[in-house]
């Protein structure tokens, strides 16, 4: 019988620091056979181990088209992430997954896409952006609105630059008022405000909005006003997890287990959920 709780051992290929407290890590399976058979869909998450400390849940933030490795991104916040912070190239960590459901990339084909993210919520959006860009002809215009508290808190800035050069891609960067530096060329303002003021065309559009609850709260009405239906607005929830496989009873938001029936939800589903977040 498979030990569903036992992770695969992964070799750390690369560690990249984005901000004073955010790093992203590239890892590959130590076991070649496992590497070959592994597959996932963007939006799914994994549970990553720092042995001796514990496990932590992160979205797999690399595109599912990249076959030689997977990536995750985390903020140094607690015991496990502090242990993960210390890892270097060549180290070994654990991974189990992929768990959860995924973004409806197939349903989104033929639509324009708008990606809205705040702060550390860029990584779970990044995988979807890369996936869409790698299947460019299947999707319409792509707009990315990404903001953080300060310039130093923006992650994957080099990739944002790269995305801005791609065809029919608009990248709008913003920082909260007071977070700008003298040489900042992006916008200044909270994400919802920037979304509204940018007058982004939203016909035939699906949206992926991930960020702090308050950001989502103020962004949704703007998208609704622009005519995007609840069932076309998606988000990815997070919750404290342990098992990731629907057994430990920790991650439920009302009747749904975020690890099994999420973390990807659309607004129509989200509105049926009780305030258990």
């Amino acid at each position: 019988m498979t030990n569903i709780y036992k992770p695969d051992l992964m070799e750390v290929l690369q560690v990249k620091q984005h901000t004073p407290d955010v790093k992203s890590v590239r890892i590959k399976f130590q076991d070649e056979a496992r590497a070959r058979e592994f597959d996932f869909h963007v939006g799914q998450f994994g549970i990553f181990s720092a042995f001796g400390y514990g496990e932590s849940t992160f979205n797999i933030c690399s595109s599912s088209n990249w076959k030689d490795y997977i990536e995750f991104c985390f903020r140094k916040t607690g015991m496990v992430t502090e242990a993960l912070w210390r890892i270097e190239e060549g180290d070994t960590i654990g991974f189990r997954g992929p768990y959860g459901n995924s973004y409806p990339m197939k349903e989104w084909e033929g639509k324009n896409l708008i990606f809205i993210g705040g702060g550390i919520a860029m990584p779970p959006i990044r995988c979807a952006i890369w996936y869409a860009l790698e299947n460019r002809e299947k999707y319409g215009n792509i707009t990315i609105v990404y903001g953080a508290r300060t310039v130093d808190d923006l992650v994957f800035q080099d990739e944002l630059d790269e995305w801005a050069t791609r065809e029919r891609v608009t990248v709008i960067r913003t920082v909260d008022p007071g977070g700008e530096t003298p040489d900042w060329t992006g916008k200044v303002g909270f994400v919802p405000t920037v979304v509204e003021e940018s007058n982004i065309p939203m016909d035939n559009t699906a949206a992926l909005v991930i960020g702090p609850p308050i950001m989502i709260k103020y962004t949704l009405p703007i998208l609704a006003k622009a005519g995007i239906a609840d069932e076309d607005i998606y988000t990815s929830l997070e919750n404290r997890m342990k098992c990731g496989v629907g057994k430990c009873g920790r991650c439920n938001v009302g009747p749904v287990y975020v690890c099994k029936e999420g973390p990807v939800f659309n607004m129509e589903q989200l509105k049926t959920l009780p305030n258990d977040m």
């Binding site: 019988m1 498979t2 030990n3 569903i4 709780y5 036992k6 992770p7 051992l9 181990s49 042995f51 001796g52 400390y53 514990g54 496990e55 932590s56 916040t77 607690g78 496990v80 992430t81 060549g90 180290d91 070994t92 654990g94 997070e238 919750n239 404290r240 342990k242 098992c243 496989v245 629907g246 057994k247 430990c248 009873g249 920790r250 439920n252 938001v253 009302g254 009747p255 099994k260 009780p274 305030n275 258990d276 977040m277």
Partner: protein
């Protein structure tokens, strides 16, 4: 026609199983006023009457309070994972309460939901459960309110009925049960009967209706006010199964273990960011009731409660599930507020 076994033969069987190296558990008096299910070293430790039910449950045999998931060795940058020797010893429970055994068919759902939990499966397969139908009940029992009965067969491999004359009727319900008692029973025309059980007092439909429409109700505050926030209810509940996963070891290695956990603890849903979706005790109490009487039934079709009453008996402030359900029922009927 029935099969019966004498107390003496039963004791001999139990001693035989123990001497065969099997792990045999049953109700036993650990201290003058402490009655628990424990592993026995001799049949004379087994108690089959004179009490309502032990203060703990038999879930320990299939879902232990602490369980190693696998081990890890650390050598510089090298990490090696190794599997723990799976249990292989047969386990037998004698004299379990039907409300304890009935938990397992219910728990089977969550432990096999898409991902099959091998630890649960193995111990489940290794365990034979012999229940003893109840003749008595106390004010905390409410099995009949959750569609069970003092002689409910769910989860039992064999059920004993005290005939009152030093003999027990043995009803073997599964192959495991039959194998256990093969050749040890005698035919008889005596048939055992369980007690009537408690008068059903909870209208589950009313409770479900309340739960479906009152997530935000201010009633949860008063319903949970005296709760002290321990895990006594969850840990002595036959169906509660929440667990934590932790790494325990030292610089050379250790093991990743899973331990019982309870939604009643304040840190249960605490995020690393410091945000806690259930920072209020009332929210945590609501979660427990919802999980048992709404979420689990909606998802798997079974109530996550067998009406054993352990939660209230073990609760330092006599709360537990039944008083809350009764209060909910009253609210749903008359809009009063107190929890009795």
């Amino acid at each position: 026609m029935s099969e019966v076994i004498s107390q003496q033969t039963l004791s001999q069987l139990v001693d035989q199983w123990i001497s065969q190296g099997k792990r045999v558990a049953g109700p036993t008096r650990v201290k003058p006023d402490v009655l628990l299910y424990e592993f026995l070293t001799a049949a004379d430790q087994l108690l089959l009457n004179g009490f309502i039910r032990p203060a703990n449950t038999i879930k320990e045999l299939i879902f232990p309070r602490t369980e190693k998931l696998y081990g890890y060795r650390l050598e510089g940058k090298q990490i090696e994972l190794y599997d723990v020797e799976p249990p292989a010893t047969e386990q037998i429970v004698v004299g379990a309460r039907p409300c304890d055994a009935a938990a397992f068919p219910t728990l089977d759902y969550v432990f096999n939901w898409d991902y099959k939990d091998p630890f649960y499966r193995r111990l489940r397969d290794l365990t034979t459960i012999v229940t003893l139908a109840c003749r008595d009940h106390d004010e905390h029992c409410f099995c009949t309110s959750v569609k069970l009965a003092p002689d409910d067969e769910g989860g039992s491999d064999a059920m004993l009925f005290d005939l009152g004359d030093g003999n027990y009727e043995v009803r073997c319900l599964t192959d495991k049960g039959k194998a256990l008692f093969a050749g040890a029973t005698q035919s008889s025309d005596k048939v055992g009967k369980a007690g009537p059980g408690p008068e059903p007092s909870i209208d589950l439909d009313k409770v479900k209706q309340f739960l479906d429409t009152n997530f935000e109700s201010p009633q949860w505050q008063s319903l949970s006010l005296r709760c002290v926030g321990c895990g006594a209810c969850a840990y002595t509940c036959p169906t509660c199964h929440c667990f934590d996963i932790v790494d325990e070891g030292n610089a050379a290695g250790g093991a990743r273990v899973r331990n019982w956990d309870a939604c009643q603890f304040s840190m249960f849903t605490m995020h690393a960011s410091g945000h806690n979706p259930r920072s209020d005790k009332s929210q945590r109490q609501r979660q427990r009731i919802m999980h048992k009487f709404q979420i689990y039934p909606d998802k798997f079709g079974e109530i996550l409660c067998t009406g054993c009453g352990n939660c209230t008996r073990n609760c330092p402030v006599s709360l537990g599930v039944k008083p809350v359900l009764e209060a909910i029922q009253e609210i749903a009927t008359t809009e009063t507020i107190e929890t009795k």
